[in-house]
């Protein structure tokens, strides 16, 4: 699918990618991790044909710099920072739909799944939208074109848990579609991937398999019991769409399987007031009551 052979990239004299060699196959869902300056974004830009570089990169056997249109038609890209586009959303959608031969309605349909009404936002300047809205639009554009590969740079940074769950569902529906996700922190994307590549100073320092890469559409019913009601906890757990009962002592809801590490990270902040935590395992079409419970 993607092959990098001895790829090097220097900015002035500083080597950002240093003789990098990698192969990504169909079915790989790769977390590309590393600290700032490790070379993640540079590597992505090389794959997108945006940087001149040494060595060879091929996507489906084609070199991106020399076969831009063909290669980029097969890649859905979501950047880390949404571009400050002054154009209205409708115009952005028309441009992106026009370059890929899909209809604006296709993007709007994905938008609906992500709970954003793109028709209503058509005349709003893209740059004026919230971070989450921009992210959803870029994800909708990337997925609607039915790519052979999705590249996402920090894709879930601005998404709420519900939107992340929908994103996981959308990726899950695309079967063994290869995904390359760049992130600073592994726990942000660990549930999404089945392979981890860590870069440091432009070199691969870790290339490992994640055995836990389960079904992306999996949802885990969860119940949190508090020692006492707490306003800050209520606010934090409301983002995850949990419902209170028993005078705000017991909170129940569902957590996306791929998002559970992030959920535990939130819960850990309130460990002092948590009396109990129960998380089950169930398929998304089953009710939480029927699932096997893991405590």
């Amino acid at each position: 699918m993607i092959t990098l052979q001895n790829v090097s990239k220097k900015f002035r004299r500083a080597a950002v990618l240093d003789d990098l060699s990698l192969t990504l196959e169909r079915g790989d869902r790769v977390a590309l991790i590393g600290s700032n300056g490790a070379g993640k974004t540079t590597m992505i830009r090389c794959i997108l044909g945006q940087y001149d570089h040494q060595g060879m990169i091929t996507v489906n056997g084609l070199e991106p710099r020399n076969n831009r249109e063909t290669v980029l038609k097969t890649i859905g890209f979501v950047p880390q920072i949404a571009p400050p586009l002054k154009m209205p959303v409708g115009e952005l959608l028309r441009f992106c739909a026009g370059t890929t031969g899909i209809g604006v309605a296709d993007i709007e349909d994905i938008g609906k799944r992500l709970e954003i009404d793109l028709g209503a936002l058509a005349n709003r300047p893209f740059v004026k939208l919230s971070g989450g809205q921009k992210q959803k639009i870029l994800i909708a554009i990337a997925i609607a074109r039915k790519p052979d590969l999705i590249i996402m740079d920090e894709p879930t940074a601005n998404l709420d848990p519900q939107a992340r769950q929908i994103l996981f569902d959308l990726l899950s529906e695309r079967g063994d579609l290869p995904v390359l996700i760049s992130s600073h922190r592994l726990e942000e994307v660990a549930g999404l991937v089945n392979r981890i590549i860590e870069l440091d100073q432009g070199r691969v320092v870790l290339d490992d398999v994640v055995e836990d890469g389960g079904d992306l559409s999996e949802r885990l019913p969860c119940e949190v019991t508090l020692a006492r009601p707490d306003g800050a906890f209520a606010k934090a757990i409301a983002d995850w769409r949990f419902s209170p009962s028993n005078e705000d002592i017991v909170w129940t809801g569902e957590v996306a399987g791929a998002d559970r590490l992030r959920f535990f990270g939130v819960i850990a902040r309130y460990s002092g007031i948590i009396d109990g935590l129960e998380m089950g395992k169930t398929s998304r079409n089953l009710t939480s009551k029927g699932g096997d419970k893991n405590v």
Binding site: Q50, R68, E69, L72, P83
Partner: protein, 275 residues
């Protein structure tokens, strides 16, 4: 071609939304309004000459304003887009670099050329409605010369944008180029060179090489065929070229400069890092 038209449309609608375009249109529209009052006053006395003179004054003011406007707005938006990360996303879309670059070039050409010629056309129509004769010859030639001048500086703007990595550097370079060309206008440096008894060939070459001077001489030639109002180099040029020959040069030379600059800019754009 689909990518080309998509990029053209994108650039035109982006320009129409931009504040610079509003200001740009208001400047040229405002000039016409102000000049027209003088033109009308004069036409009562001299008839046909009034409208022609209005066009001459307009074209001279255009020469002063249009190049710097085109240069600065072009490099600001192109280099600014790259700097802000717009290119990272837009160039991840499956559009060829040629379609993207030339589509934007064409779109920008339409937006810088249209207000100038539209303002001139409105002046002509208004003058005709007030009873003046239509200076068709002047209108057509002035339009052609404006096409040529816009194209030239657009090409230079795209070249500067491709060569620079930041909008600050791009704007400084654009301003510097404009200043250099301004310095080599007939009445300034060329006059000084002639005073210093430089060879006439050098003076003519410098005057012919400067697209601003070429535009200025050609536009004045339409109004003042003997170039009495112009400086010494124009006299030499008129002797060497003849009136028609110089008009042809005046139209084609800036276009060739703009095209070469645009092509060179594209070559730089596509061979290096895009973002």
């Amino acid at each position: 071609m689909r990518g080309f038209w998509l990029a053209t449309r994108l650039d035109i609608s982006e320009s129409l939304r931009a504040r610079w375009f509003l200001f740009y249109s208001l400047v040229f529209g405002g000039i016409i309004v102000v000049l027209f009052l003088f033109g009308l006053t004069e036409s009562r006395v001299t008839g046909f000459t009034g409208l022609t003179r209005l066009l001459v004054t307009y074209i001279q003011l255009s020469m002063a304003i249009l190049p710097i406007f085109v240069l600065i707005t072009t490099v600001r938006s192109l280099a600014g887009d790259r700097e802000a990360g717009v290119y990272e996303y837009m160039l991840s879309q499956p559009v060829s670099l040629a379609a993207w670059y030339w589509g934007r070039f064409f779109g920008r050409f339409v937006t810088v050329f249209s207000p100038v010629v539209l303002a001139m056309a409105v002046a002509v129509i208004w003058g005709v409605l007030r009873g003046a004769d239509v200076p068709v010859f002047h209108f057509v030639w002035y339009s052609l010369l404006l096409v040529s001048l816009s194209f030239c500086f657009l090409g230079l703007g795209f070249l500067i944008s491709s060569m620079t990595r930041s909008s600050d550097v791009a704007q400084s370079a654009a301003f510097f180029i404009w200043l250099i060309l301004l310095m080599f206008l007939d009445l300034i440096l060329l006059g000084v060179i002639i005073r210093g008894q430089a060879p006439s060939e050098l003076v003519v070459t410098l005057a012919l090489a400067n697209p601003l001077q070429v535009f200025r001489t050609a536009s004045m030639m339409l109004f003042d065929p003997q170039l009495i109002m112009l400086g010494p180099s124009a006299w030499l040029i008129l002797d060497a070229f003849g009136s028609t020959g110089y008009l042809v040069w005046g139209f084609f030379y800036p276009i060739v400069i703009g095209l070469l600059a645009g092509v060179f800019g594209f070559w730089i754009f596509r061979r290096g890092d895009l973002v």
